[in-house]
Symmetry: C2
Subunit: 211 residues, 2 copies
């Protein structure tokens, strides 16, 4: 065991800044990631908690131009369907939103889970098997924060048919897509969500009930 670190109030203030300035990035510069950055971010991601220490996360870096085109096409189909679900002003607003950085982002990473891994021996997921996916979500969030601390932006796209993405990437049959990530240097920094800046939605006070 290493020496227990002290986290002081200056660190906590900076950590809060990190939470405040982490953005879901859709506008990227074309600049490539530094060498080894993706591998380093994945290594940090794996420090996330996982149910029963199952570490169910599986990473697929999407480099191939043909695969990227197919992913983009899947997004366009799903996004068109989503647009058709809105009408009037809301549809016009939706159509103006930029919801992905699939063309510019230098790195793209699909994160899957192996739904029933041997690792972890099933601990903690008998009654709530969705904790397998939740583990990968925390790995993604860990990577997201680490990326932002390096000046890198991450955008999580969920406007996809997850089974189609799995097919494009030839994922094994027992893998489930959790998130599709674009990673690169952001075109701009901001402390407010883009959906707030663009008038789609506003943040609200959280609801805390006492029982």
């Amino acid at each position: 065991m290493g020496e227990t670190p002290e986290f002081d109030s200056a660190f906590r203030a900076r950590l809060k800044d990190l939470f405040i300035w982490r953005r879901d990035v859709r506008r990227f510069r074309h600049t490539a990631l530094p060498g080894g950055a993706l591998e380093r971010l994945i290594e940090i991601a794996c420090l996330a908690p996982s149910v029963g220490l199952s570490e169910p996360w599986r990473f697929v870096a999407v480099d191939d131009a043909e695969a990227r085109r197919a992913v983009r096409s899947c997004f366009e189909t799903c996004n068109g369907d989503a647009l058709n679900g809105y009408s009037g002003e809301r549809a016009a607003l939706y159509a103006r939103l930029k919801l992905e950085g699939l063309t510019e982002a230098p790195a793209q990473l699909a994160v899957f889970v192996e739904r029933t891994p041997a690792q972890g021996h099933g601990l903690g997921r008998r009654t709530m098997p969705e904790t397998i996916e939740y583990s990968a979500v925390m790995a993604i969030h860990t990577m997201w924060l680490a990326a932002r601390a390096e000046g890198l932006g991450l955008g999580w796209i969920s406007i996809f048919d997850p089974q189609r993405i799995a097919a494009i990437l030839q994922a094994p049959p027992d893998w489930t897509l959790v998130g599709y990530l674009c990673i690169g240097y952001p075109a701009a920094e901001d402390d407010a969500p883009s959906l707030e800046r663009e008038g789609w939605e506003r943040r609200e006070k959280p609801l805390l009930i006492r029982r």
Copy 2:
């Protein structure tokens, strides 16, 4: 917009320490949380990303002794069932694990999601509705990191019948339990997961495939 913060290499090293020293805590001191700590942690949790800015997280602080007893009883039933799923050495090992801090932890917090909130106008969750739960998972993970930076430990218990917990806490019918959290000062600090220290499972190298 505030002034963009700089995150330097010293901060990144400390952030990595935070990821390394965050633990799923099951052994707590009885010491109460500082006044306002839970509310502050919830406020920080809400800086997490959420699909379509839907902020679907709903928090229930569980203070009532009778409710806590019912929660504990639910854990015991589910944990007994889980133990029955193992045999031999593995069962003996499982029986020795301490998987919850429900008796000692001064604060207990159930985190639910509202599955189909009006907020966010459905954006991003048409094809992957599970991103609603994923948003709450990232709020929990944000709180977890912020707590650790304050010297507080958090333990996430998933060995529960989620519908029973919702019933005990009189959650509205459209709320789904995502996680049940124990929060307090940890009995000890460590840089290795307790399941590793106790011989249940080991960490493995992540799998990265390139397509």
